[in-house]
Amino acid sequence: MDKPIMMNEKVNFALTMGMTDTDDIREETDTTEIKQMATVGSPLLSEKKSRMTCRNVDVFYGDKQAINNVSLDVGKNEVLAMIGPSGCGKSTFLRCLNRMNDTIDICRVEGSIKLDGQDIYDKSLDVVPLRARVGMVFQKPNPFPKSIYDNVAYGPRIHGLVSNKAETDAVVEESLKSAGLWEEVKDRLDAPGTGLSGGQQQRLCIARAIAVKPEVILMDEPCSALDPIATAKIEELIDELRAEFTIAIVTHSMQQAARVSQRTAYFHLGDLVEVDKTDKIFTSPSHQLTEDYITGRFG
C-alpha cells in the first residue's frame, strides 16, 4: 500500500485546486529552494534556545546525495536523538556537526551549520579548536593504547588547557568522576585503557571527550557494542551530563531514544521527516513514515 508522502505546500495546494497535470506544477516549484520533503513537527528552535543551528544542509558523497536539505536545531542542554533506518544519513549528519566528514575526500557539505551563531564551515575557522568545542563518542569504544590517565589527559594537554601536573590530575579526576568511572579506576590510573571492559572503555571515551570541556557532545550509537547493564549505565550518564552539555545522539534503538532524549528527529533516506518532543513521537507521531518505523512496519 502506498504511503502518503507529505508534499511541498505549493504542490499540495495546486492539486487541491484541481490541476491534474503535475508538469505545470513542477516548473513552478523548481524555482523554489525547498526540494522534496518539508519536515513535520518542530525542527527549529528559537535563537535563545538553540546551541547549533543547521539550515538547508546537503551532503554529497561524490555524485550521490546522502542528506537532502535538512534544517534542524540542537537545543541548549537538551538531548536530541536521531533515529531512522540504516543508511538514512543520520550518522553522516552527525559527523557534519564537528566536521569529521572533512577526513573523507569525496564528501561535500553544503548549507549552513552554526555553533552559537558562528558558521563552522567558515574558511577562516580552524577545525582543531572546533573539535574541542564539539566532542565525539564513537560506536565502538576506541581508547588510545595509553594509560587511563593519559587517555583523559591527552585532550587537555594538546589544547593547552593544563599547564602542570596538579592541574592535569584535577582535570582527569573531575572527568572520570563525571563519567562515573572514577571509583572503578582511581587505583589503577596507569593501567592501559584498552584493558578495561567494553562499558568501562566507552565511559573512558566519554571522560576523554568531556575533559576538554566541550559545549556539545556528539554520540554515534554509543551503546550498540555494549551489554544491557553497560548500556544502562551510559544512559544514566547521558541523563546526568545533560545538565552541563548539549548532547546529540544517533541510536538504532527507539527505546533508548525514548529513554534518554527530550527531542527526537526521524531521518528517512536522507530526508528529515519529523522532529518533535520525544513523548509525542513515540505515542502519536504525525507522519506516517515515522509511525511505520517506530511500530516496526518496515516492509
Partner: protein
C-alpha cells in the same frame, strides 16, 4: 486510517489479533449476560439466576486471558505509537467490560430478592427495566463495534449524543429514578430499586468509558466527560 498489518514481526500482528478477538468475545459474553437477564425478566423468573453467575465467571476468565495477552505484548514488543495506544485502549476496555458484568450480577441478585420491579407506569412515562436493559445492550454493542473498527466518528458521536445527560437513556433513567422515589420510597423494595437503577447508571458509565478508550486509541487524546 485503520491499523495496517504487516509488522516485520509477523507474530506481532498475530498477537494483536488475538487480543482483539479476546476483547470481542468478552464483549459478546457481556451482551449475552444482558440477554439472559432479559430472558428471566420476560419469563418472570428471577429467583434462578445461576446462568447469569456462570456467565460472569466466563467473563472473568476471559478477562484474565486478555490481561495476560496485554502483558505479553507489552513485555515482548515494547510497542510504540498506534500499537501502544491500541493495546492500552483494549486493556482499559477489558476492565470496563468486566465491571459491566459485575453490575449485571449485582442486578440479578437484587432482582432475586426484590418483591417488585422498578418498572414505572406513570401517566405518560412508561419505562420498564427490560426496556432500559435493551437500550443498554444496543449502546454496548455500538460502542464495542466502534472499538473493534477503531471508528472514531461513532465513538465521538456516542460520547456527544447517546451518552450525555441529554441522551434518551439518561433521560429515561432519570424518570425511572423519579418514579422509584415517588412510588417505592416507602416500601421495603426501595433499597433494591435504588440498587438496580444505580447498576443501570454504572453500566452507562462503563459504556461511556469504552467510547473514550476508542477515542484514545485513534487520536491519543484523553477525553473525560463530566460526571453526573
Amino acid at each position: 486510517m485503520s491499523t495496517e498489518h504487516n509488522h516485520t514481526f509477523k507474530r506481532f500482528d498475530k498477537d494483536l489479533d488475538k487480543l482483539r478477538s479476546q476483547v470481542e468475545r468478552m464483549g459478546n459474553e457481556v451482551s449475552r449476560q444482558i440477554d439472559l437477564l432479559l430472558g428471566h425478566l420476560q419469563a418472570g423468573k428471577m429467583t434462578d439466576y445461576d446462568d447469569v453467575i456462570e456467565n460472569d465467571m466466563t467473563i472473568n476468565g476471559l478477562e484474565n486471558k486478555a490481561n495476560r495477552t496485554v502483558i505479553k505484548l507489552l513485555a515482548k514488543r515494547s510497542p510504540m505509537g498506534r500499537d501502544l495506544r491500541v493495546i492500552i485502549g483494549f486493556s482499559r476496555m477489558i476492565t470496563d467490560l468486566e465491571r459491566v458484568g459485575d453490575e449485571l450480577v449485582t442486578m440479578a441478585k437484587s432482582l432475586a430478592d426484590a418483591k417488585e420491579l422498578p418498572d414505572c407506569f406513570d401517566g405518560n412515562n412508561t419505562i420498564t427495566l427490560a426496556e432500559m436493559l435493551v437500550m443498554a445492550m444496543n449502546l454496548l454493542d455500538r460502542a464495542l463495534l466502534a472499538a473493534q473498527n477503531e471508528d472514531l466518528e461513532t465513538a465521538q458521536d456516542m460520547l456527544q449524543k447517546s451518552l450525555t445527560k441529554q441522551s434518551s437513556y439518561k433521560i429515561k433513567l432519570a424518570e425511572m429514578i423519579e418514579c422509584v422515589k415517588k412510588h417505592h420510597a416507602e416500601s421495603s423494595n426501595g433499597f433494591h430499586s435504588a440498587l438496580q437503577t444505580h447498576s443501570l447508571q454504572r453500566v452507562c458509565d462503563h459504556i461511556c468509558n469504552i467510547c473514550q478508550h476508542t477515542v484514545f486509541m485513534v487520536t491519543g487524546e484523553d477525553v473525560n466527560h463530566e460526571e453526573d
